[in-house]
Symmetry: C3
Subunit: 346 residues, 3 copies
């Protein structure tokens, strides 16, 4: 999509200084700007870049007074940063609006109920008794299993897989390759050393405004539900086991793994590659450092780090001493020598 | 699916105490039971919950004598726990039985041979010379590459990908997004720093009763096979590299990674996020603690922990001392002072 | 595919010693050779295996003189190892050549431009304004989003997902389940504890000769691009976050995770399960040991290990002392006793 300086000025109620017909098809950072892109200058620290930027259009604050000649067309607005953010939202909305209608071939079971104004990509599959709200976007090759219920305005990117009986709220975003509702890892050991599968008959519930990253997996409850509360944001390649529950607005970075039945509170932050054992209770506002291994429950408002994880202050103190272990070792050897000397002296 | 108390009593040869027409569509734990669900009471420890449970039907042992009024309809059976487990199996079987026939559009190469009574979902793909046994279920958007051979009663959930030449036994379950038979990570370094791909012409063999979790990946052998033996259970997001071999009934939790050519024995248990280097030999009955990094072969019947992994007793002792390192550091400083004093005293 | 000894001898310009009609359909290692397979003997260390090998055909150097009777048909060539490697390449090429043409049903938007001699599998999807070069192979159920540009001879295995605006060079290989261009993990914290999605409008660029493993995920730039340079090889289940850049010929093993905006140099080697924090700069020729956690930038030509990662020499020294910590602890206790004695003695 291409936009002219006059299109953008009209949208942002800005004032043009330069060529009103110049066109852009992308955005850039002011320090990297190339021809055909739009950048913005908000922080005066970056002012020097504006005189050399190759961006075709640059948003600036009304109050900005250039010290030298600028090649780009300027659009003057009240607040350049906010105007830029608004522009991005318009852009993404416009891009999404293109996606509409039902592409063929696709598969909708005749018992499914589908809302208004949805996009259904080719090779997408909607199972029996599925209920889908309005303005939902389902990209190509998505699978929606039987009895799934989906709210309004949720987006399912190409190839994500939603097992039967999953419930998904409004404004959720599920990225490609994510798997929601696969069987929990439950097997009963038999006398001969083999395992018998324990039937997994629960489901997954995603409340409103949940984002699920690419190739993340969330297992269904063995019985009952695995629950991802309102506003939770999960990055890519995360494993959430059966019957876990994650509280409102908790965020987790890539490659985190939670074992079964662990409950995580609200507003927590887990860094990448963190692992949690099963059946733990993690309080609200807990932060866990990267690669930590959590084997015990953690009370609210704690920051923990390490494998096994301990309070972050203790962990950092321990790392400092660890790094100086060879020195400590040498000191002990020195002490041994001195004591030997002292004993001789006796 | 809805079932009445009389349906269920008939199935379990139980006796009804209450409304025989009440219906349930799901199961619940007795402490969480809601209207329209069936729960069970086996462990007397949970007896108090039965008087407050909102479950519509509760399975109880014949021997159970209530101390107060119970709202739910009771079904009395010989062994409430076993009856419940049997009920779950019936339920899952009934659910699976719905899945049958060939949905359109799907793709079956004319050289493929497909057994009786299979389910083939829409947009599933069956390549050249594929041989599939009886009662196999292939969900929508599954890919079965050329020359793949599949036994009876295996289940392939939506969107799993089976590369050409893979061999899969009976009663295997492959979850969504799992990839079986992708190229091993083999590249020959060239003089200019670049890498030349080493052609990967082996395959993957899954023996009978193997379960593969969502988004788990198993690479083919460079030459020969990557072999997953009978009864192995792999959780989600696991990486098994080329030419690995995993012995009977070994289980691995999520996010485990095995490098190339490592052989794992029978009846092993690996916890989450464990990593194994390549070309190792791990004996039978080995247990590896969460997040351990195994860089050397491990003899049978060992339990190891840590990164690098060491015997679990040593690891736990080390962790205890680690946690007390600041104290040890202080003690050494104290000793240094005392010796200084002693020397002065000399 | 089956080949006779005379087929293979003709291809390799070799000389047959034995049955020219014997046929093989696979290759094997000489020590594991079975009927119907072809093996090779290059290293004299393995000579003993040739007398017992069950392989039907064995490639040998012209100079090889057997000491005993050999059951297999021999094909004598100048250099048995090189001949074998060449044979593998022929084999894989022959296998790939089978894949050609457009299978139905597939979906090609009418605005897409597709090169000559491509393979497009059933249920594959090509979006608006896509440009695809010559000799590209797109397996079933692949998704190519709008405006994607792809060079010549690249291969997309079944079910990989390429988001809109991605640019992919020549001779790239993308394995099943890989996701290229999913949204970066960017959310602005709000006053009420919730998060607002930051629109991700950048893209991913894969230069020439890039290999991406199964179920690996690469997020698009928030603005600008996530860039994977020429010759990079990524294994399975790797997470590359928004705006990362990976230099020429760098290789990473499975389950590695990079946080946002980290730049990695050329010719680096990362072992399995390594994690890197965001906004780091890693120099050229850096090697990172398995399960390391890198929280600071690393200058070129370094080898680091551990979580947190430190120079490998220091890490190995530290591990040695760690393993002897109980001994160190005992030594300090012993010193305390001795000093007590000395003090008494004063």
């Amino acid at each position: 999509m291409e936009f002219s300086a006059s299109d953008i000025a009209a949208l942002l109620k800005g004032e043009i200084d330069g060529d009103k017909n110049v066109k852009v098809s992308n955005v850039s950072k002011i320090e990297e700007g190339e021809k055909g892109t739009l950048a913005f200058l908000a922080n005066p620290k970056y002012e020097n870049f504006i005189y050399e930027s190759k961006a075709s259009i640059i948003l600036v604050n009304k109050s900005f007074v250039p010290r030298k000649k600028i090649n780009a067309t300027l659009i003057k607005v009240e607040d350049a940063y906010k105007a830029f953010a608004r522009l991005l939202e318009y852009y993404v909305q416009a891009k999404n609006l293109i996606k509409t209608g039902i592409e063929q071939p696709s598969y909708i079971d005749q018992t499914a109920i589908v809302g208004e104004n949805i996009y259904l990509g080719a090779f997408a599959y909607i199972g029996k008794n599925v209920k889908i709200g309005n303005n939902v976007k389902i990209y190509p090759q998505v699978y929606i299993g039987d009895n799934v219920v989906i709210g309004d305005e949720s987006i399912f990117y190409s190839g994500c897989k939603i097992y039967s009986d999953t419930k998904i709220g409004n404004r959720c975003i599920i990225h490609s390759g994510a798997v929601i509702g696969s069987d929990g890892f439950g097997f009963a050991p038999q006398d001969d050393g083999s395992y018998k599968k324990i039937e997994q008959i629960g489901n997954v519930i995603l409340e409103d405004d949940v984002d699920i990253g690419a190739n993340t997996t969330i297992d269904c409850g063995t019985m009952g539900s695995t629950i991802i509360r309102k506003g939770v944001k999960l990055d890519n390649l995360i494993q959430i086991a059966h019957n876990c529950e994650i509280g409102d607005n908790t965020v987790m970075a890539g490659l985190v793994g939670l074992a079964g039945s662990t409950k995580v509170g609200k507003n927590c932050k887990f860094a990448g590659q963190v692992g949690l054992a099963g059946h733990l209770i993690i309080g609200d506002n807990v932060q866990i450092g990267a690669q930590s291994g959590v084997s015990k429950s953690v009370a609210g408002d704690q920051i923990v780090l390490g494998s096994p994880a301990i309070p972050v202050k203790d962990a950092l103190k321990m790392y400092t001493i660890l790094r100086n272990l060879p020195k400590l070792r040498d000191e002990v050897i020195q002490l041994q020598k001195e004591i030997k000397e002292l004993k001789k002296g006796e």
